[in-house]
């Protein structure tokens, strides 16, 4: 059995012979094991909802990094390559962020530590927006793809950057309101929407370029005879644009509606409180007014 550490473009003819990627198993195992270990060490019970989110995030990473999807995406089809990016950034990263409880964040990034300061700097939303888009553009340049994905280390670096940048980017949008750098609507909607718009730029290059941009996919042994790298590239652009955009806009819509609902609920509470206070005031006024009215109501008091 062939074994490799991470998926990379091998230039070999594609076969359906299983090639496990040991690094993928190792990373996934470390992420699950580390999560459980952190809870045990802290004497905390695993929260079912957060654990589910964390495990699903790791599972998403695992599926698109292991054979065959990892290998097809890195060495043969740009469409699957971009699909991997969409899963890394739009599925796995938000699930992982949502799966981390606040106490664990405080444990991993103790208050006042250098790590905490670094996290605070990286997740400040304008910086996070910049990092995410710099990685998006930088790692989709033809020279980056053709150079980095040809080696296991380079391919791992690209995947690491994609996940890291996506975690930094989702952090301010998904962490609870009381945490530092957390942003709320309407800035959050703008923040996410801005990235979805910027994502159109590389997607448009992929969709509308008349020539294959990536030599790696163009010169890879074709999976079928009439394979056309330009059609593959166009499909990749559509995946980035439509599926990436659709997922992101879906998330934006859900978050916005949730925020609107919370605002509405908060408004209702405020209105009820105000109404209650108003009623109390009226009642108080009635009470204040009652001594003068009392004689007429109850008759004159007898001496």
């Amino acid at each position: 059995m062939n074994v490799a550490w991470w998926c990379s473009s091998t230039g070999q003819v594609w076969t359906w012979r299983y090639t496990p990627f040991i690094g993928v198993w190792l990373v996934a195992g470390t992420m699950i094991g580390g999560y459980v270990y952190s809870h045990r060490r802290a004497g905390r019970a695993l929260d079912p909802k957060r654990t589910r989110q964390w495990v699903l995030g790791v599972l998403a990473l695992f599926i698109v990094s292991e054979w065959p999807i990892g290998q097809l995406g890195v060495g043969y089809l740009a469409t699957i390559g971009i699909g991997r990016y969409v899963v890394y950034t739009m599925v796995a990263a938000p699930l992982l962020i949502s799966g981390i409880p606040t106490w664990l964040v405080e444990q991993w990034f103790p208050q006042g530590s250098r790590r905490q300061r670094a996290l605070a700097t990286l997740t400040y939303w304008p910086i996070a927006l910049l990092i995410f888009n710099a990685v998006l553009f930088g790692t989709h340049l033809p020279v980056s793809i053709d150079t980095l994905k040809a080696t296991q280390l380079g391919s791992f670096t690209v995947d690491f950057l994609h996940l890291g940048a996506a975690l930094v980017w989702w952090w301010p949008a998904l962490r609870p309101a009381h945490e530092r750098n957390s942003i709320q609507e309407p800035i959050r909607a703008f923040y996410l929407f801005a990235s979805s718009v910027l994502m159109f730029v590389p997607a448009a290059f992929l969709t509308f370029s008349p020539l294959p941009l990536y030599g790696l996919y163009e010169l890879a042994p074709p999976l079928w005879l009439s394979f056309d790298p330009v059609q593959d590239q166009q499909a990749a652009g559509i995946v980035m644009n439509v599926i990436g955009g659709f997922v992101l806009w879906g998330i934006i819509a859900v978050m916005f509606m949730r925020w609107a609902k919370e605002r509405e609920a908060a408004d209702t509470v405020t209105r009820r409180e105000r109404d209650a206070r108003t009623l109390e005031r009226i009642a108080a006024l009635d009470t204040d007014a009652s001594p003068s009215d009392a004689p007429s109501a109850t008759g004159p008091t007898q001496p």
Partner: protein, 216 residues
């Protein structure tokens, strides 16, 4: 675990992983050639041939089994000549797809230029199979075949090595055959002018094809 030790563990783990991954990294033909061909000083992407070589003077058969004099049949138009086989999993389909799609892209048609595919696998490449194979790229690519000795003569005339059996195809489709990986360009007089090794991309051909039509 303290904050410092966690960071240290992560850095060490990443460094170890990186070293192992780097040690396992394969270097492949695709990886080396993925950036396409370098531009030559004269702007062409194809590499000039300094030797005096002409279209080989051999007689091959087309897919209707009619004889074709390779040395004379294609005079009058520029010709791109390529030796390959229809079961080839990588070099042949990549070259043929790049050339045919670049011709469409820049508007070069088969009335202005000939593209000739000579099979180096007479055992498997029947005329029907060659026709079916070339139809995946363009039906106007000329497919030729003959006994391996005649094909070997043509290769020898161009100082190219003969085909060799490399071992079983991992897809289970018989044997892989090693063959010259370059496309050779001949001018209208049948004189070899340039070669395009494996790694020539569609973008390289879109630069060279108009010049082939204009200058050859």
């Amino acid at each position: 675990m303290t904050g410092r030790s966690l960071t240290t563990h992560l850095v060490v783990a990443l460094a170890v992983f990186g070293v192992i991954a780097a040690g396992c990294s394969p270097t492949t033909s695709t990886a080396l050639s993925a950036t396409g061909l370098e531009a030559q000083p004269d702007g062409w992407r194809g590499i000039p041939i300094d030797l005096d070589r002409e279209l080989p003077d051999v007689t091959l058969l087309d897919t209707a089994n009619e004889p074709v004099e390779l040395g004379t049949e294609f005079l009058g138009d520029p010709t791109l000549l390529f030796f390959g086989y229809t079961s080839c999993p990588d070099i042949c389909p990549i070259h043929l797809a790049a050339i045919s799609s670049a011709m469409r892209e820049v508007g070069v048609n088969f009335d202005d230029m000939d593209v000739v595919f000579v099979s180096v696998d007479p055992d498997r490449d029947t005329p029907e199979r060659i026709d079916d194979y070339l139809a995946n790229f363009n039906t106007r690519i000329t497919g030729l075949h003959s006994d391996i000795e005649v094909v070997g003569e043509a290769l020898a005339a161009l100082d190219l090595p003969g085909p060799i059996v490399e071992g079983p195809d991992p897809r289970g489709e018989g044997d892989l055959i090693g063959h010259p990986a370059q496309v050779i360009g001949f001018d209208s007089d049948g004189q070899a002018q340039r070669v395009w090794p494996f790694g020539a991309r569609r973008s390289d051909w879109t630069v060279d094809l108009p010049r082939i039509i204009d200058e050859w």
